[in-house]
Symmetry: D2
Subunit: 353 residues, 4 copies
């Protein structure tokens, strides 16, 4: 109920605070006999880790994962996979100034109200550092789903927007630049923009888009657990996300049915794909694609007024090592969550076989 687990058959439970001893998790329900590629898992962590480029937070964490169980002679055994990521860079003293105060648009206030007190170091459990565990599990899920291709990329930073459908973009270019935008020219402009925003101590939002290819027909359950509903929940559970749309999305709400309906080809594929690869909550074999909106990071390197826990006005000064724009590092997280949703439905679907 406390909500630190995700997935039904392939179930991930995570734990850990930003500045505790370690973060970690347990994957229960991974099928046995999967030959794990450990470099691929670490590669995904490296794509998410702080300090990876000039436009992300400069906190130094190697984010090395250690596996404790569920793997024998390189293969999954079908028993739970326990793993740990140690925090090597616990600068608790950096955070003493926020012990008794509530930073605007952070979770400080609500944690205190819900739990009575909080681990105030670096945001504690509310830190996006928790997503490192999701990336580990997502990397394993990808290996279970080997034929599927899940590719996320940055499609906008602030008002700077890549105005092309994914089908007209060479998505493989996304990993060639530090913004993770597949349009090299746009990526370069975004990079400059992010640096400029950071130089002012400010932050900016953005959008991550994701495309999933080679999805088998039949994934998803038709009523409450529609495939896109669970994808939406997965994405909205990532820190800083404010919106989710798939297929035609919000734009689809402005269209006529006669334009929006996807006519069939004789092989069951469709001529258009406004549906976004899902009908009635179930995958139809077409590409799944969706957008995820991220708000600007709340930590500014600026002076500001806020309140302390007694309601007094206090002045604070943002400091430390923070991301000016979260979307470049969010790309592997979006992919990981997509993989977790899909692997679960993939396993559930075996019930129908």
């Amino acid at each position: 109920m406390a909500g630190n687990s995700f997935g039904k058959l392939f179930n991930l439970t995570t734990y850990g605070e930003s500045h505790g001893a370690a973060l970690g998790g347990v994957i229960d329900g991974c099928p046995p006999g999967v030959d794990l590629d450990f470099d691929a898992i670490q590669h995904e962590l490296d794509r998410r880790k702080p300090g990876q480029s000039a436009i992300v937070t400069q906190r130094k964490e190697p984010d090395t994962v250690k596996f404790h169980s569920g793997i024998f002679e390189g293969k999954t055994t079908g028993t739970p996979i326990g793993f740990v990521i140690e925090n090597t860079n616990q600068k608790s003293h950096d955070y003493s100034h926020i012990k008794d105060s509530y930073r605007p648009s952070h979770a400080d206030f609500v944690y205190d109200k819900k739990y009575g007190f909080r681990d105030y170091r670096g945001g504690g459990r509310s830190s996006a550092r928790e997503t490192s565990c999701r990336v580990v599990a997502g990397a394993i899920a990808k290996q279970v789903l080997k034929n599927l291709e899940i590719t996320a990329y940055v499609s906008s930073v602030g008002t700077m927007k890549l105005n092309k459908p994914y089908s007209e973009i060479d998505l493989s270019k996304a990993e060639e630049n530090i913004v993770r935008c597949p349009d090299i020219e746009m990526a370069s402009q975004m990079e400059s923009y992010i640096k400029e925003v950071r130089s002012k101590g400010d932050t900016v939002g953005g959008v991550v888009s994701c495309v999933i290819k080679n999805v088998p027909v039949g994934l998803g359950e038709p009523v409450f657990d529609k495939l896109h509903a669970e994808l939406g929940k997965a994405m909205l559970s990532i820190n800083a996300v404010k919106g989710f749309e798939y297929g035609s999305g919000f734009h689809g709400s402005t269209m006529y049915g006669s334009d929006h309906n996807d006519s069939f080809n004789n092989d069951g594929s469709t001529k258009t794909n406004f549906s976004g690869g899902v009908q009635g909550g179930i995958s139809n074999g077409m590409d799944i694609y969706f957008n995820v909106a991220f708000k600007p990071v709340a930590t500014l390197i600026q002076k500001y007024e806020t309140i302390d826990k007694d309601g007094n006005t206090v002045e604070m000064q943002g400091k430390g090592r923070h991301d000016p724009c979260v979307v470049p590092r969010a790309v592997p997280i979006v992919e990981a969550m997509a993989a977790l949703v899909l692997v679960d439905y993939f396993l559930i679907n075996k019930m129908y076989s």
Copy 2:
């Protein structure tokens, strides 16, 4: 796993096909001692039912709910509440033409692929008729949550959009017109527009917005089961929904942190509310507000080509009684799903008390 249940402590399971004997459901976990207002429950069903106005489907169904259990002398007993809504208007012969064919942008194709065969009458389980059961449960959830005010309304139909923040709108006007748009002039234009679309046998999409007031601080769980993530899943599970955004939403992704952060007042409320009433997945006591995008209904009263189950091209003619625009009837469904999400977190939150 098959996904016909929603909620953890206040759990709804639904069943029923569009043209089966009856739909129904079970609510497990409703607190005991709630004095039920049965008229209020039926009123919610009436807001959703077909045939209620000139701009919705003319299928005639009274949608009368009968309760079988869990209620004694007008009060909930704490035991499961079983209920049934009979289908009085089962016109199976209307649907024989779709038995062997797949309508574009319907679930016919994916049901056949997933389950091997399907109840083809009126879309079977994929019909939005299923949402009547959600409305029953949502109406009871509202009564458990008595102080909360959950108000949904139509904020756009096609490209016609109500461009005002909810705080500048008298939401009580929404129920005074058949479109359920609280701006009377806009509502009138939308009504004409929907009628015009219908006269062409076409359909159009729209957006339902929702505002929740008087939410206590502390609802929601911080990681995977964030309050807005579960709200998103709930909304995306409604038939025809393509997108969900809350607070600043997609627009928020274009903003600077210095503009987007919500400064505190000394009482813990915030001066602005770009957060949309949720921080770190937990309600902060401010109004929760969100938008839900609906695609245009897929059933057109037009001739079109599609394929049959053997992949042959066939010509079909849409007929029957269908909604030209789904949003007016979606308003009570959005409210019901919001109530189901909130009541669940309300009960879970008692764990922390």
Copy 3:
């Protein structure tokens, strides 16, 4: 959480009170394409129903089940199966005398304390009448599990005990007498004994044994959800059950390892079966067998003293139509619960295929 659901992939939710309008349930996760034998379902209900013989309660209920959904042209569709059993014999006036009093060893007292009040008619939700819904679902589960043979029988009534291992008994004889004991002579003695007990207005306990043949290897999950642990929970959830043992059971605790270990034959079967068909929580392909102990029914047709809700001593007189011994009617319930446990693991096990 409120516990009216059972099973993970094949999930049953039940509702209904002893003297409400109806009982019913929803089965979510039944595989599609199962050709249902409706007579077999009703037959199981008939084995459980009141009034079936001279040694059970004479309450008259046809216990006819109506299906509302999830079945099309005689086959399951993969969507939820909703069903209803109407209460035709609601004698509310029979129960007014217990409205304000607590019958010893009934649930009256704890319901009042837990929920604040209760539906006092016939025990409300605490009545074993609820098990009729389990029997419906179990009968469908049996049809999914077609090759498995699940056979329960009465092995003791009071101190009268059938002292033979099941392998030396012709289990098919159990259904040939009203006690459901497969030893005809013993059955006849048990029948006389039950009648004698009833003539004194008293009741007596008993044991139901169950054997499951043709179980595939591999059902069950090794840690918390061991196959025998879930079987145990299933049996203990039946009204009046006080104990569960499988394989060597309590007697096994008195044995030496050198006697208790089951040596392998070369085909993987074992020479003995003290394990009871389960090793480490997982079926090993040998017969599963277990015993379920039932207490004597609490309702006596005698005068007795008890307390009312204010703690005053009051005199009561048991009356109405009650079972002098519950085990003959418990046989189909034990089988139903065993089927529900097995079908769930059968479906979960597909994850490993």
Copy 4:
């Protein structure tokens, strides 16, 4: 689904193999603000650990627990508690002889069949070493449930049985001897007996009894999740358990209702307690008591024949460090599982308040 989690609101997930790097777990849903007594937690682990006395396995493991999260300044924070117990004594070479063979009455055979292969070192995941994680979580659960007293003890070893009701025993004596039997004379005989059994390379079963005092009225859910049903599942999930009975248990099945019914005192307590503290699945405030039967440990220090994975007969020689009788070390495990069941219902029950 893979069953490595236990509990709904207070949820424990465990991982780890007998000879892997470490075992560990995550507790999700522990209430915030609990001042943890870490010595008490380690004390419970010490009661379970190998090598603690002359009658248990001499494997040397300190079983030291390290907490990674969910605790701040000595108090639980309400976020998940991750913990790890490292394996310091991984003698993999001890187990190479069982790599390709199936030990009788062990899980070797079923793991190979279910998962396709297995971590054969020391039984892998099927080892009772997994229960160390349950003991950690149970120790924390006990601290949440502070007023409850949960006391388990050894009531029989082989045919040697303590024939007294718990109410006539000074349970505090159980921890004063290495058998954990509260009758000192009987304990001494049991100790000699276990040593004798071990000297022959044999093993013997036994029974652990448990008493829970100060239980509030109202814990438990009335239908499938009855309090005693969940207790039964919890106990049956412990390695080597073959049976569970509560209150009058199997003996109760031989009794008359007129003897078995528990008459009320005017304060709502009962004069007798054949019910075992639970009515209709809900605690009634009387002591809960139950028995758990353990089979003899399967590993004998003897020569024996068995089969290898190709079905060939092979001769094996049991060796290593094993328990001749599991019940002394099972006592803290039984208590831990009881605590986990109770804390969960304690939290669920807040829903009704």
